[in-house]
Symmetry: C2
Subunit: 374 residues, 2 copies
């Protein structure tokens, strides 16, 4: 396992966050968690569960009621019928990915990821001894892994996409997603769809991979759209034949997710609350994108999540240095692209709009000063 330790890089954004937290006047445009409070009925249900003595383990797959509630949400939101038996509650998507990668990692098979992508994917792969295979994505590919690129690949065991994507903020086109899923079935690899930023899609209706096939694995969470990151709760939807295996893994590696938080989550699917979350982030997106596109090249449409992927190469050819100086000189925290891969990532910075517009404005003002002085 020394190999693993050597391969993983620190999650740089977490270190930047730690440093920025020591700066009292910092503007946080690095944070990958929403600032909004959870729905009040969620916190009320959480409190009630604690007072009602819900302090024991739940079954490994999670509370039955919560699995049913999640299944119902798929029917209502996407028109997709999912049996609650295929829904498994997890401690965040972290817990889900640990199980999914353990299910799928297969010596001799590779895990197809995009570059850039969420760094934990590759680190989970290293953790479990699987070999990632990186496909470069860029403006030229619509920031998507394109089916044509996958067709000729050998020894793929699984692929993971996130849509809306971290760090790029784009949303996969329906046709790309459909074609990739069909290809996964033809070639016999698993299609894993990270849908943690679903709901935070501003200009269209997003599609769950479950609309196109029951062979896919879907991972989602209460941490972003539902604004419950610290409650550490997520879920996954598995093909039937993987459910029992997943359950056995969970019994061994984390027993179950936090119990009272599972009761809280029963109240999370409130239309009005969620509409307000989406509207709030849309306004922030509109503001920040409006400003940043005048300062940087932005070659990915910021259609979802709460990130903007900005090419800063007209100012610097080392975005890590750019981020460090911006933090030190102006107390504005942003995330260097290199956290997310090695494909041109030294030219990019990820801006998060997880603060209110007044704060974002202050950040942009400081950023403009920084660019002027630089």
């Amino acid at each position: 396992m020394k190999k693993f330790i050597d391969k993983i890089s620190p999650f740089i954004v977490m270190d930047i966050l730690a440093k920025a937290r020591t700066m009292p006047d910092a503007v946080h445009m690095e944070v990958g968690e929403p600032d909004l409070a959870p729905f009040e009925k969620v916190t009320e249900a959480y409190v009630k569960a604690i007072k009602d003595g819900k302090s024991h383990y739940t079954p490994a797959r999670g509370l039955t009621e919560l699995r049913e509630t999640i299944a119902h949400y798929y029917q209502k939101k996407y028109g997709v019928s999912v049996s609650p038996d295929r829904v498994i509650v997890t401690p965040g998507t972290s817990g889900a990915f640990m199980v999914v990668f353990a299910l799928l990692a297969d010596p001799g098979k590779r895990l197809l990821l995009s570059d850039p992508s969420y760094p934990c994917y590759r680190n989970f792969a290293y953790f479990l001894g699987a070999e990632p295979l990186f496909q470069k994505i860029s403006r030229d590919t619509h920031y998507e892994i394109l089916p044509d690129a996958v067709k000729s690949m050998q020894d793929i065991g699984a692929m993971v996409i996130s849509s809306p994507a971290n760090p790029v903020g784009n949303v996969y086109r329906e046709s790309t997603m459909k074609d990739l899923i069909r290809l996964s079935e033809e070639k016999g690899f698993r299609f894993v769809s990270d849908e943690i930023y679903h709901g935070l899609v501003y200009d269209e209706q997003e599609h769950t991979a479950l609309e196109f096939s029951d062979s896919v694995i879907v991972v989602n969470s209460f941490s972003k759209y539902f604004c419950m990151p610290g409650y550490r709760l997520g879920w996954m939807i598995l093909p039937e034949e993987l459910v029992r295996k997943a359950e056995i893994i969970i019994q061994n590696i984390f027993i179950a997710a936090n119990t009272p938080a599972q009761y809280a989550a029963l109240e999370a699917f409130d239309d009005a609350y969620l509409q307000n979350v989406r509207d709030t982030f849309r306004k922030r997106r509109d503001f920040l994108y409006g400003e940043l596109k005048n300062l940087f090249t932005i070659d990915a449409a910021p259609d979802g999540a709460f990130y903007i992927w900005a090419d800063v190469s007209r100012y610097s050819d080392n975005s890590m240095e750019f981020c460090k100086e911006l933090l030190e000189q102006k107390a504005v925290a942003v995330t260097p692209g290199i956290d997310f891969g090695s494909n041109q990532t030294e030219h990019y910075v990820r801006f998060a709009y997880t603060q209110d517009i007044a704060t974002l404005k202050a950040g942009v003002e400081r950023l403009k000063e920084f660019l002027k002085e630089g």
Copy 2:
């Protein structure tokens, strides 16, 4: 990773629990979690944290105040000075073991475990591609891995003991622990001490491995003695040189433990509450041991945890069948020894005293009927 899936066995007790839960009149002597409620100030602090909006991620190593509180507990309880920098808060001991095994698993090195032992140890090893090496323990070895047995072993990377032990309920002698730790330092392997059942020791004062060395790794939890299993919170204490590596792993594999539960745990170290927990389990131990020793051979002193390891071979040479029949015929759930290894485990059953004495009495009465009818 198919190798992993093939190697791990379902955690049978969880399946028995699931089945027993469907039987309305079942007596649960299989459950490895305390039935007692958490300390009321814990639940109050949990509620307050939720109402105060503590819904965001904590730092990966956990809340600073909680790490300090835990460090202080070691000073007060054991007279051991531990820097809060070495304390890391985790989602249960499950989270701690995932990190510890990732830190220690090293191709070519083996992980020394006792047989019987807590099944998750070996499954974590399989999960991370490490090879377990089982040392048989029995009455003849005081149910301890003895230093003499370890002296000649080759290629040991780490060893794990639990004391008080699951499933056996014995407590390692101070001299054995000291000698094993000295040996680990001489031979250059890590000594990992699972102290999750500390506090639940009835006839003596238990010792943390930290009393004997700073090179050891200690894992503990709020799930047993502190009666907060569903809050999914534990901790580990690492040698300084492993802290940063552990932090990087945590950033990637689980981000942090549940936030409001960490605030709750600040109130967990209450002397009077904990004394009452210990007294409650001592009385149950006294009752159940008093009964079971007349029915079975009990060759391990039930000094700690909340388990009694009973040799049922005068009734059956297949404890799995014994457990199944006992559940089906009398609705008494107990755990077959084979969950915990292969060393004579078909002769043993684990009884848990995690129910009140009236319930244990009912269970014993049914057990006596079962044995008479059998």
